[in-house]
């Protein structure tokens, strides 16, 4: 082979490989211990990633961890394998992302529900309290007994934020309303324990509750089933769960983790990705409540009007929803 043709061939190869790497983003997702099929939080992320796959044809790597040590292992491994952007799902991955992001300054990282300050990390935070406020209002308006329930997964700050917003929303409608709270458990199985969820829900119904809000991942499925069996109402979380028990699901508090996951990958692909904090609230469309054909019979025109008004007020800053995280209390 003549030197010129060697040069030409290698030049073509170079161009070809450059074209491939420029077109193909290599995204990666690390799910936490809850797994990705909880019909709620994690599945929302999965939906967003799949939507990205479908629209762009770009494949992603993923890993579901089984113990806390694997967080750092999986994230580092993704970075070592040349992933361009690595998405960590859940606040528990914050410290692992923080550590690995330092070691791989040229790799992009994003974390949902976590707050990490680094030049190559995007923190995707949600104002769960705003959405919980709205569904709390709906619960209070739909309740005939004046008692509404809340089933959380574990007693952790994130869930207290849900509970606090919910209570504030209910009290905004009627100051006399009673909110009964229960947490499912103290181990990770609390996020995937439908039978315990159903048990707690029946317990709350026994105390006179007639609308129950579940913020407990996969445990919620049991809560909704129990509500259906008892002929009461339930409210879903994170994903739109209205379809799970039509006629029983009053609404769902939407936390659009799918949008967050989809957007961060899209931005990374188009080159507009920026590190920093992105907050998703009612204003940004990252938080909302669900109204579709499965629950429209349960939401009266008056209820919708009141909630829409409150939503507009929150967006305009006329209603300030108390955030549990701001002072670690729900006074």
């Amino acid at each position: 082979m003549k030197p010129a043709s060697v040069f030409l061939a290698s030049a073509i190869l170079l161009v070809a490989s450059a074209a491939v790497s420029a077109a193909d983003l290599r995204p990666a997702v690390v799910f936490d211990m809850g797994g990705k099929f909880d019909k709620s939080f994690n599945q929302g992320v999965n939906d967003g990633v799949l939507k990205f796959n479908k629209e762009t044809g770009v494949k992603h790597r993923e890993f579901v961890i089984t113990n806390p040590t694997q967080r750092e292992q999986a994230i580092r491994k993704m970075a070592q394998r040349g992933s361009d952007i690595i998405l960590g799902v859940g606040f528990a991955q914050s410290s692992a992302i923080e550590k690995v992001a330092k070691e791989f300054p040229n790799t992009k990282f994003a974390i949902i529900d976590g707050y990490v300050v680094a030049p190559n990390v995007q923190s995707l935070l949600f104002k769960e309290h705003e959405g919980s406020f709205l569904v709390g209002m709906l619960a209070a308006m739909a309740s005939k007994s004046g008692k509404i329930g809340f089933i959380g997964g574990m007693d952790i700050p994130l869930i207290r934020r849900f509970a606090c917003g919910y209570e504030k929303g209910a009290k905004y409608v009627s100051s006399k309303i009673d909110v009964i709270q229960n947490m499912t458990g103290t181990t990770p199985s609390a996020w995937s324990d439908p039978s315990r969820g159903a048990e707690l829900t029946r317990g709350q119904f026994g105390q006179g509750v007639d609308v129950v809000f579940a913020a407990a991942g996969g445990t919620g499925v049991g809560v909704y089933q129990a509500a259906k069996d008892a002929g009461k109402l339930a409210i879903g979380t994170d994903s739109n769960q209205n379809y799970l028990q039509p006629g029983t699901m009053l609404t769902s508090m939407l936390k659009r983790v799918d949008v967050a996951a989809y957007t961060t990958f899209m931005e990374a692909r188009s080159g507009t990705w920026k590190a920093g904090i992105k907050v998703f609230g009612l204003k940004e469309g990252g938080i909302d409540w669900a109204l579709d054909e499965n629950n429209k019979a349960l939401i009266s025109g008056d209820m919708k009007a009141q909630v829409d008004a409150a939503k507009a007020d929150i967006i305009a800053g006329r209603i300030m929803v108390h955030d549990y995280m701001s002072d670690k209390s729900c006074k």
């Binding site: 211990m33 790597r61 579901v64 040590t69 529900d113 700050p157 458990g185």
Partner: protein, 373 residues
């Protein structure tokens, strides 16, 4: 045919290997059924666990946890006690280390913090086991039930403490601040770097040395001391032990405290060795896996070490498998682990009659029942 009539090398060598092989064959069939290549999967698993330095580091790190947890179950088992509470004892042991580090990490150097951490994990783990032990010894409450309950109490206590007391302020995640460097157990790759050997980074830390010491110490305690003799006597026959002048109550409490202390070292490995902070769920089921490890290792320290290595390979290789082969999820990895436990634990002696038949066919002995077959 009872396996006891087989030579020792078959009972402890051939049969376990055969059981694992059977488990892998069944796993292979399942992997083939979902459309993946079982041989390629097995290769990924073994290579991921033993084929490169980082993988070896993770395998040995898991094995360290399993050794502590397995030894905890094993010693209790020799006294006829079934300690299901390793998980909770490890959790509380980790709490002990964490509290000591949070209080003293800025004041003391590592050489002092290391023994303090060791002591704290052992004392906290032992204390958590002492209550069920007392209830068993003096009140007749069955230790299986009470230790299971104590796992849940430990989990509830930890959630309360992490969320309300020990959480780093302004954090969403219920975890404490990171300890100062003096409160970190040296990683093995760091320790090797001091003597000029380079090794890939992994969570493997010097706890593994302590695990080896515990193995030797426990073997000596059970088979070479008077207390060990008393312990085994109680395990074999409590009434005979009383007749021989042994106080079973004392033996039960002491044994459970040693067991809880050993389980507490899992907490030390995790909190002081790996995460360098207190967090939720760092025990991740190691305490429960310790039961399988101990059963598979026939409650002998050497057996526990071998079984720990096997589980280390399964955990790290399994993670690697789920990482490399998209068709294989972590649920399938759990299935493979479950099959290994099933064949080596629950069905441990299933193959013994066949092995015996083959063995005596090759090396006949005058026993009509066997030669007839």
């Amino acid at each position: 045919m009872p396996a006891a009539s087989l030579p020792r090398w078959i009972d402890t060598g051939v049969i376990p290997v055969l059981n694992i092989a059977l488990a892998l064959i069944v796993s292979g069939l399942i992997i083939a059924a979902i459309g993946e290549d079982p041989f390629a999967a097995m290769a990924v698993m073994v290579k991921g666990a033993l084929g490169y330095q980082e993988g070896i580091g993770y395998t040995l790190y898991y094995a360290t946890n399993f050794t502590f947890a397995g030894l905890a179950v094993a010693i209790a088992f020799h006294a006829g006690l079934f300690n299901i509470g390793g998980e909770g004892q490890a959790y509380i042991g980790g709490l002990g280390v964490g509290l000591v580090m949070l209080a003293l990490d800025s004041a003391l150097p590592m050489v002092l913090l290391l023994p303090l951490g060791l002591l704290a994990s052992a004392i906290f783990g032992a204390a958590w086991a002492a209550v069920p032990a007392y209830l068993q010894a003096c009140r007749g409450s069955h230790i299986v039930i009470t230790t299971i309950m104590f796992n849940f109490i430990a989990a509830a206590l930890m959630v309360y403490l992490m969320v309300n007391v020990l959480i780093q302020p302004g954090q969403m995640s219920p975890q404490s601040r990171e300890f100062d460097v003096s409160g970190h157990l040296p990683f093995v790759h760091e320790a090797l770097a001091w003597i000029g050997v380079s090794f890939a980074r992994s969570p493997l830390n010097v706890s593994i040395v302590w695990a080896a010491v515990c193995c030797l110490g426990l073997g000596a305690y059970i088979w070479r001391t008077r207390w060990g003799y008393e312990l085994r006597t109680v395990g074999h026959n409590e009434r005979a032990a009383v007749y021989a002048g042994v106080n079973p109550r004392r033996v039960i409490v002491i044994t459970m405290c040693i067991s809880g202390g050993l389980a507490g070292f899992v907490g030390m490995n995790e909190v002081m060795g790996v995460h360098h902070r207190l967090l939720l769920d760092f025990t991740a089921g190691y305490g429960f896996t310790g039961i399988a490890v101990s059963l598979m290792g026939r409650n002998h320290p050497i057996g526990v070490v071998l079984a720990s290595l096997l589980f280390g390979v399964l955990y790290q290789g399994g993670a690697e498998l789920a990482f490399e082969v998209p068709g294989i999820t972590r649920e399938l990895v759990v299935t493979i682990q479950g099959l290994v436990i099933l064949f080596s634990g629950a069905l441990a002696y299933m193959t013994a009659p066949w092995v015996a038949r083959i063995y005596y066919a090759v090396k006949p002995r005058p026993e009509p029942a066997v030669s007839a077959a």
